[in-house]
């Protein structure tokens, strides 16, 4: 294969329309007679609905109809795809009927001929609530005397799940020291800049329902919406137009999609709903939400013999698509990049009167990495070792791959020392350590944080996934030789329109401009799984690769026929099929394509046309890794943190486009910074989200963010032919503990060994009011 595009920093083909404001996000789509939907949502975290009065609203000008839960009885439950043993799955209606279980739960949908009138009408609806005590804190939810979120269950425990590997009890007996720490992974708001949105258009003649939705998973949504509405799946079409970020929050099937479809069918009009930011904070899934106790068994040389993690997962009031599955991912990655043969995790998932948690960038793995990377630092502190040395003692070495973890995974390939070495060199780690000592004497507090993470990507082999983990691609060589790719992944910023074109252009020896990548439309693209779990390039890209291989194979047959030789005498390179022993005798891909469609001179039994579809089923996950080093200084006077240096050396296997990889790392690190230092969904004791707008919930701004120094190593994955591992979540996963470790390290003179996120200035300031030791 030529390497003209692969590995190059190619500017994205998706950008010109986006920088000129000509891309179409859901809200930008105009349809004739389009009506607007606004919701009335619960103002209580837990309440019985005594009655709903919609009469005033219905009488307002422009209002077409007002829908309540009663009107929508026919719509099926909002789906949960997880099938954990013993899981309690509550009915999850699209509009609440008798009870509401979180602030923001939709109760009434108002349809009017304009957004303004729909909003007015929604304000005119009155709901008669009987407030009930709210279950807010997960520990309180798990307590025996708690109020029940769902009366039909005898408690708030949705499931209990354990993972055991090796002999943990023995490990703890053999340890020189057992280190314990409670760690909290606060709830986070994904806050994609484009809120969610849906347009539904039912065409009564064609009996076809089209949904435009800001989603990461158009095909899964189509299946689920068809089931919820009792429609034939082939009469439902889901289109994901430009999608303004997702980070997991759009990896879901919410009630609004099916409901808008239903409304459009009822009214025989197209209808649109665009989420407000307030709705996005209160009624779109949140991330993380774990409260856990970590214990590690350590030898005095820093070797970790075993780890235990006992955790309460705050699921929220209902189960969304993957809600219960997220904490199980934490379990899988709990041993990190280390040779820790004994592990045990016990999860108790509890219902609370809050919006559901689900996948948010990293989805369960940032928790794991944070736990193990914090634990490494705790071990270092305990024995007064350098945190880097503790890591070195425990890292899985290059010779051990594929490495079987105690959690049951097989790490595909790795060289964990390499990025560590590189990151230490770039950051001049020893210099910072010396600097730290000097500064402390002057009353200035510098800290260095390291994280040597490994993460699980390319989700994943289907048996390990709730709803299939393969991916599909159709590649068509059109009669004029232009290439069209239909991919089942659904990019929304990751740049696969470009990276897949790079793969195809090199494989087929054509210009990048000749390749068009289509995605996100179930009416155009064969079934696919979607974009999440850092899978798009590793799994979806491999599907493209597979489809092209099929085409080339077919092309060889035709080329041999046209050149009048046997198949074995033909070779393909740089867009040409030619004779091995006489390269002057050749036929271009373009001519071959035309010949395949005009079909006048085909070999016997040869199917006309030049297209192939390929469904790629990965045999394993992939495991990217890397080292992040962060240096901070904390100001004792204010508790504010200043990042002096940030170095990230990541290894995500073979790189298709370094521009895209760097972009993913930048964004991921900054989301990690948000969690580490700023963000938290704060609920009060009655379940109101206090940080329910950007004016109270701080996400990083340009000025909050350091300049990141990036570098990489490249260890190809043996799992797929291109060697790609994936990078979508690595930044978030690797960075969170590096940031926190740095601050905790800075606070060491104050006797601090752990601080829960977010490390907001006041928290730090309080810790620094003590005398130093």
């Amino acid at each position: 294969m030529a390497q003209k595009y692969l590995g190059q920093a190619i500017k994205r083909t998706e950008d010109p329309k986006l920088v000129s404001g000509l891309g179409h996000f859901v809200d930008d789509i105009k349809l004739p007679d389009l009506h607007n939907v606004c919701f009335v949502r619960s103002i209580h975290a837990h309440a019985r609905i005594r009655g709903v009065d919609t009469s005033l609203a219905a009488a307002l000008p422009g209002v077409v109809k007002v829908f309540t839960g009663e009107d929508c009885r026919g719509i099926g439950s909002i789906p949960c795809a997880s099938s954990l043993q013993g899981l309690k799955v509550p009915h999850h209606p699209v509009l609440a009927r008798n009870k509401v279980r979180y602030v923001g739960e939709p109760i009434v949908a108002v349809v009017a001929d304009s957004l303004y009138r729909a909003r007015d009408a929604a304000e005119a609806v009155s709901v008669d609530y009987e407030p009930l005590p709210a279950v807010v804190d997960p520990e309180q939810a798990a307590a025996p005397n708690s109020t029940f979120v769902h009366e039909e269950f005898s408690d708030n425990v949705a499931y209990v799940w354990s993972l055991v590997g090796g002999d943990v009890d023995q490990a703890f007996k053999d340890a020189d020291r057992v280190i314990k720490q409670r760690m909290i992974h606060q709830r986070l708001v994904p806050a994609a800049m484009e809120p969610r949105g849906v347009i539904a258009r039912f065409l009564p003649g064609e009996k076809e329902l089209t949904l435009w939705s800001s989603t990461q998973i158009p095909h899964l949504m189509r299946t689920q919406v068809a089931i919820m509405l009792g429609l034939f799946e082939n009469r439902v079409r889901v289109i994901a137009p430009e999608v303004g970020g997702g980070f997991g929050s759009k990896l879901n099937v919410y009630g609004e999609e099916a409901l808008l479809g239903f409304i459009s069918m009822q009214l025989q009009k197209p209808v649109k709903w665009i989420e407000t930011r307030r709705e996005n904070f209160t009624a779109t899934i949140q991330g993380r939400g774990q409260v856990g106790d970590v214990e590690i068994a350590v030898k005095s040389d820093g070797r970790v013999l075993g780890i235990r993690y006992t955790v309460l997962a705050d699921l929220g009031a209902y189960l969304q698509l993957l809600t219960p599955a997220i904490p199980t991912l934490t379990g899988l990655m709990l041993t990190g990049a280390y040779r820790i043969p004994n592990v045990r995790m016990d999860v108790t998932g509890v219902f609370t009167n809050k919006v559901a948690t689900d996948a948010y960038r990293g989805a369960g793995r940032p928790e794991a990495t944070y736990i193990i990377e914090r634990a490494m630092d705790l071990a270092a502190l305990e024995f007064d070792l350098d945190p880097v040395d503790v890591r070195r003692v425990n890292l899985v070495s290059k010779r051990e791959f594929p490495y079987a973890t105690a959690t049951g995974l097989s790490y595909d390939s790795g060289n964990y020392e390499a990025p560590l070495k590189k990151a230490l060199k770039i950051s001049q780690y020893p210099r910072w350590r010396r600097h730290q000592v000097k500064e402390r004497k002057k009353g200035r507090y510098v800290g260095v944080g390291v994280s040597t993470y490994v993460e699980i990507c390319a989700l994943g082999p289907s048996p390990a996934m709730p709803a299939g983990g393969w991916e599909s691609a159709t590649v068509r060589i059109e009669p004029t030789g232009k290439i069209t790719i239909l991919t089942g992944v659904s990019p929304h910023g990751q740049g696969q329109e470009t990276s897949f074109a790079q793969i195809a252009a090199d494989m087929l020896g054509v210009a990048l401009e000749d390749v068009l990548v289509l995605h996100g439309d179930t009416g155009v693209v064969q079934y696919g799984i979607g974009t999440f779990g850092s899978r798009a390039t590793a799994v979806g890209g491999t599907a493209v690769y597979g489809a092209i291989q099929k085409i080339l194979k077919k092309g060889m047959l035709l080329a041999a026929h046209l050149l009048g030789v046997s198949r074995r005498e033909v070779q393909f390179r740089d867009g040409k099929f030619f004779l091995k022993n006489d390269p002057t005798k050749s036929i271009s891909l373009q001519d071959l394509a035309l010949a395949s469609y005009t079909a006048r001179k085909l070999p016997p039994d040869f199917e006309p046309g030049l297209a192939a579809i390929y469904f790629y089923e990965p045999t394993n996950f992939t495991f990217p890794f890397g080292t992040h080093v962060c240096v901070v200084e904390v100001a004792r006077e204010t508790g504010t943190i200043k990042i002096l240096q940030y170095v990230a050396v990541d290894d995500c296997g073979t790189i298709v486009n370094p521009l895209l990889v760097e972009g993913q790392i930048h964004g991921g690190v900054v989301q990690a910074l948000g969690q580490a230092f700023m963000e938290e969904a704060v609920y009060d004791e009655i379940g109101q989200l206090i940080t329910g707008e950007f004016t109270d919930y701080a996400i990083p701004r340009a000025g909050d963010v350091p300049w990141m120094q990036l570098d990489r190593t490249e260890t190809p994955s043996p799992v797929n032919p291109l060697g790609i591992k994936g990078v979508g979540e690595a930044g978030t996963i690797g960075a969170t503990p590096a940031l926190v470790n740095a601050v905790v390290d800075a606070l060491r003179p104050f006797g601090v060994r752990h601080v829960d996120m977010p490390l907001r200035p006041e928290k730090i300031w309080k810790l620094m009011q003590k005398e130093t030791s």
Partner: protein
């Protein structure tokens, strides 16, 4: 996202604006930059039936010198204050405070009159105007009056403005060249408003003794206030770092300090001390 419906008026003179306000009483609101009013209307926290847009009243947009003060029209934007040569050279403190407000887009729209009339306890101007001993010029149905900044800010979102009264201008003194000023702000991470801010105006004699000091504080209590204890203890003293530090304690002594998710009362108080100290220190160094 969508405000309630209202009727809209665009008067072209102060008199016209005042008479409209009188006609519609409590149901009417003046609109200046709209950057406090419209966000509240969009969230339906405010729903005036009548909006009186002041933008057409040209005389409210002027900055001019009147005697030994600068007259800043109510409609002068934060941006204009931040960049005006006149203000930068004669009342730098106000320009510095303006520069700390929100973000560039907000500063392009928001006005000093709107901000002062709105009296957000975490707004930037109030601290500066208190430290400057500014005067607020008001016109109303029964004529005009001037109110000192210290009498103007009454409570949380409450000012000396009576219903139907229009704030027309702010008068700030032209500061002598030897006076030093400084504005220091700790931002609430999410909103950018002041968690604490301190404005200091300081003059000293040749021996370095403090001959004048005024310190305004925002963000801490229900309204901006003067740190008078601090001022008293520094007046007449040499402005050494030690003296300033010693004086800048208990800035919030007699204040009902806010306590919310963004900062506890304890932290706010400590930051008030610190930022007051920093502002005074910088102002003292800038004073000649």
């Amino acid at each position: 996202m969508i405000p309630e419906a209202f009727e809209y008026f665009a008067p072209s003179s102060i008199q016209e604006a005042i008479s409209l306000a009188r006609r519609y009483g409590g149901d009417a609101k003046f609109l200046s930059g709209g950057h406090s009013l419209l966000p509240m209307m969009k969230l339906r926290l405010a729903a005036p039936k009548y909006i009186i847009d002041l933008a057409g009243i040209g005389e409210l947009t002027q900055i001019s010198e009147e005697g030994d003060s600068l007259k800043i029209g109510a409609l002068v934007t934060h941006k204009a204050i931040e960049t005006s040569d006149e203000i930068q050279s004669r009342c730098r403190l106000l320009a510095e405070a303006a520069f700390e407000i929100g973000d560039p887009q907000v500063r392009s729209c928001g006005t000093i009159g709107g901000s002062v009339a709105h009296a957000d306890p975490a707004a930037d101007y109030p601290a500066a105007l208190l430290a400057l001993d500014a005067e607020v010029r008001i016109e109303g149905p029964s004529g005009g009056r001037s109110v000192r900044a210290s009498d103007f800010f009454v409570d949380l979102f409450t000012t000396a403005l009576q219903q139907g009264e229009l704030l027309v201008a702010i008068h700030v003194p032209v500061l002598a060249h030897n006076v030093g000023t400084a504005y220091k702000k700790l931002r609430q991470q999410a909103s950018g408003f002041a968690l604490v801010s301190a404005a200091a105006v300081v003059a000293k004699d040749e021996g370095g003794k403090c001959t004048h000091i005024a310190v305004g504080i925002s963000g801490v209590g229900p309204k901006a206030f003067r740190a008078s204890k601090v001022e008293e203890s520094l007046l007449g003293k040499t402005l050494t770092e030690k003296n300033i530090t010693n004086a800048s304690h208990h800035v919030t002594a007699s204040v009902d300090v806010q306590n919310d998710i963004h900062a506890s009362a304890e932290y706010r108080s400590a930051m008030a001390d610190l930022f007051a100290k920093n502002a005074i220190w910088v102002a003292a160094n800038r004073a000649e």
